[in-house]
Amino acid sequence: MIEVNIYNAAFLLFSMITLLSAIGVAVINSLMRSLFLLIISFIGVASLFVLLSADFIAIAQLLIYAGSISILLLFAVMLTPEVSINNQNSKYFLFAALTGILFTYIMFLFISIFDINQLTGLSLDKLNFSNTIDKIGTLLLGKYIIAFELASILLLFALIGAISIVRSNESDFNIVATKIKGKK
């Protein structure tokens, strides 16, 4: 049985927000509305991390998912003007439902192993584990330095690749200029 305290009340509230908006993402026809709900569910996940007193991961969730990935998704949806307002029902509904049910079952198996009362912020407070950002920093630049550097090199490659794709050559300018002149 779940104890009645402020942590568990907040947990119920935030998990309800997260789950309802996540269901809305899948159900609603308008892609933009479902994106809006997706952002709300990202924020809900961030608040669940706050309840686990994982402050850095909560902020990273807000910053990366709700602030940046959502913008990327917005730009992606903008490229599909036909379906963004009135999305038709997919013919793969059955497969999607089956996959969803299977995934939920596996997740339920995982979750049922743990006791909920052991996983709240209160139990972490007892361990005197209040400050995560120092530990994450020392681990990232100490024990896991190679993974950290590899990730940063990957991001650098992605950045250079994006620039080299977007970058316009001088010849492109010339082509455009001749086209404009020809129209005149």
Binding site: I6, M32, D55, F56, S68, D134
Partner: protein
């Protein structure tokens, strides 16, 4: 005799002086009484803890603290528009709003009532649900970001270890809200304006984060209180120690909050009113209000990160510290108004070029320089005044770089064209027209 005495200018001066003295004494005693506002929330916490449970006490004290912040923000929103209009009027040699109430102080209230009376139009093809949410939702980041601001000793609402990151993360939530405001209007101008704003905000988040990163590097923490204490312990303002970070943060934040040199979100000459063109009445007013609140929030951030927060050369022992903090905040806000009254607006391509080609590389190099300086300071801690030396070096480097940037690159002095005086001399003449057209 008595009438003559009262009409004497000396009497008026004396009475004014006396009233000022009384006012100062009263202010001093009141400030002694209200030196630390955190006693209120502590009192409420203990009051509820004795009578009820811990959970209720936690809830009540947190609600009281939040109400304090919200009431300050609401006061700022009420009085800020009056301040802005009056100050800009002074810059432009006008009077400004002075009819409603004493000195026109009730003008914002009159504006709000007028805006509420206006009909709220919703476009027929707009996405009705998404159209209604943004004017309200845009307030959430603007108020949530006030959380970790240190108002004084013992007086910060969220004393968290990820303070800077928190403010940065919460303020990045404005971007999708602005996008939804523009998209749901189903208006080309609104969509274009919101796309411009999103592109600009996303690209200016990088210099903001780099400047905040150098602040975190110098102080070794992300906690606002510890940053303020670091500055007072080393008796240096971070704005002086890393002036380029201050400049980057200030300039890029004006782009983030859509203030004038960088307010291309609502460049009336290019796109009609930006992302909130379809909003009318109080909804448009809410967008304006958020802009103003964000400007004051920027003032609070700069004064706590770069201007030593609630410390001011020992005056914080006499005056309540939060008064000093608010004074610094208002100073930065007045600086923003000054900028708005002085500078024209940048074009979009100029802004983006400045962000990607100048500001981001420069702040990356600046980050390396700061890292080297910090490592030198931490390795040679026995040498005194090392921080002061680096402060002088940093300031002179920034001044030199600004001079060189203006000298080498595209900043040219304005030279009037040669045909101008001729055209003015013979205005209206046929000969002059022929001459002018033959030049081209």
């Amino acid at each position: 005799m008595i009438k003559k005495f009262f009409s004497n200018t000396l009497f008026i001066k004396l009475s004014i002086g006396f009233a000022t003295l009384i006012f100062l004494f009263a202010g001093y005693f009141i400030s002694k009484l209200l030196f630390d506002l955190s006693v209120f929330s502590e009192f409420i916490f203990n009051f509820f803890l004795e009578r009820f449970s811990y959970n209720l006490a936690y809830l009540a004290s947190s609600i009281i603290g939040a109400l304090g912040i919200i009431s300050f923000v609401g006061l700022v929103l009420l009085i800020g528009s009056w301040v802005e209009r009056r100050v800009i009027a002074r810059f432009q040699i006008r009077v400004g709003p002075n009819r409603v109430g004493p000195f026109g102080l009730l003008q914002p209230l009159a504006d709000a009532i007028k805006l509420m009376q206006k009909e709220v139009l919703v476009p027929d093809i707009a996405d009705k649900l998404l159209f209604l949410i943004p004017p309200v939702a845009i307030f959430l980041p603007a108020i949530l970001a006030w959380g970790p601001i240190p108002w004084g000793p013992n007086m910060s609402y969220l004393d968290i270890n990820v303070g800077i990151l928190y403010v940065f993360a919460v303020s990045s939530l404005t971007v999708p809200i602005i996008f939804f405001a523009g998209w749901s209007s189903m208006n080309h101008y609104a969509l274009l304006g919101s796309m411009r704003t999103v592109a600009m905000m996303v690209s200016y988040e990088i210099p903001v984060s780099l400047s905040l990163l150098s602040v975190a590097l110098v102080t070794g923490t992300l906690n606002f209180n510890e940053i303020v204490m670091w500055q007072s312990n080393n008796s240096i303002w971070l704005g002086l120690f890393i002036p380029f970070a201050l400049f980057t943060f200030f300039f890029a934040s004006t782009a983030e909050i859509n203030r004038t040199p960088n307010d291309i979100a609502e460049a009336e000459s290019e796109i009609v009113a930006g992302y909130h063109i379809e909003y009318s009445g109080m909804k448009a007013g809410l967008f304006m209000a958020v802009e103003l609140g964000n400007a004051v929030l920027l003032g609070a951030l700069i004064s706590s990160l770069f201007l030593n927060g609630w410390f001011l050369f020992g005056i914080e022992n006499l005056v309540p510290p939060y008064i000093i903090f608010i004074t610094k905040t208002v100073f930065i806000y007045l600086l923003l108004i000054w900028l708005r009254a002085t500078f024209p607006r940048f074009r979009l391509d100029q802004l983006m070029n400045f962000a990607w080609k100048t500001l981001i590389p420069a702040s990356i190099i600046h980050f390396f320089v700061v890292a080297i300086e910090v490592s030198i300071i931490s390795n040679f801690s026995e040498i005194p005044y090392l921080i002061v030396l680096f402060t002088v070096i940093n300031i002179s480097l920034v001044v030199l770089l600004a001079y060189l940037w203006g000298k080498i690159f595209h900043v040219q002095q304005y030279q009037p064209e040669k045909i101008q005086p001729r055209f003015a001399a013979s205005i209206g003449g046929l000969e002059a027209m022929k001459e002018v057209s033959s030049i081209d």
